[in-house]
Amino acid sequence: MATNFDPDPHPHQHDHDAHPEYDTVERVEHELDYFQVRVLALADILKEKGLLTTDEMRRAVENIYSKSPAIGSRVVARSWADPAFKDRLLEDASAACLELGIDTSSINHLVALENTDEIHYMVVCTLCSCYPRLLLGQPPTWYKSFPYRSKAVADPRGALADLGYEAPEGIELRVVDSTADCRYLVLPRRPAGTDGWSEEKLLALVTRDSMIGVGDALSPEEYEAGQEAVAG
């Protein structure tokens, strides 16, 4: 008999099984896969032993998802607005981030890389999904996908083209594989037509993908067009 807690979204639809294509509402209840079972078992053991509470785990997850590319954007905008800061960032990225109140001490070694008219850096992790989560939040799905991870090193200009970006002809493309202790933040080229712009105004031109090196920052025109699209 159906109750309010019945997971079946169509409890009274008797021909339900005969027409599974009509069942467009995804059920909340489902079989756990292998890794979900392992994670739950590990969490239970940690709780039983008194090493972690559910509240601590929830707070840790909450902390992970509180990070976003907006943090990295602040670093980039300051670098564009203040060349002396940029120099310090390229010399010692963690110390420079701390100037902005961004504590990156949980990253073993943070490296900032400047894209210029001669050199273009792009970042990949071919072995897994290493990413400067403190500064950029969780990586996009494509960053963790096998096609990007393999093609970024085996055909980097092709991988960029797949993402809609054409690396300038003749530029030295440097694919940085984040395989060990370093995490990388790319400083995109400062867009043309932004002379005299304030740091706050520049902030809006920084994009997540430009900090991974698979795109450029927005031009003022692209930014305006985007604002109109949102407003419209």
Binding site: N108, H109, T126, L127, V153, A154, D155, P156, R157, G158, E169, G170, I171, E172, L173, R174, V175, V176, D177, S178, T179, A180, D181, C182
Partner: protein, 94 residues
Amino acid sequence: MDPRYKVGDKVMVQNRFPPGHIRTPEFVRGKPGRILRYFGNFRNPEKLAYGEDGLPLCPLYWVEFTVNDVWKHKPGQAQDKLLIEIYEHWLDPA
């Protein structure tokens, strides 16, 4: 531990395939590169992954490879590079 290599040194990545938590990508094993930067000394991830302390610390380098030296199908422009972090015990002088 003092680093064995200095910036600009030519190196060859060891071409071996041990099991375990190895951070040297397979596609550069047996390939020639050049030391671009020395990052400092870090705990050995091959040991850390199995609950050990990862000591002694290992020098970690940024090794630069030319894309077209790494792949037979030569997908890059001549100046395109791959920059990969490699621990010293994976490198030989070239």
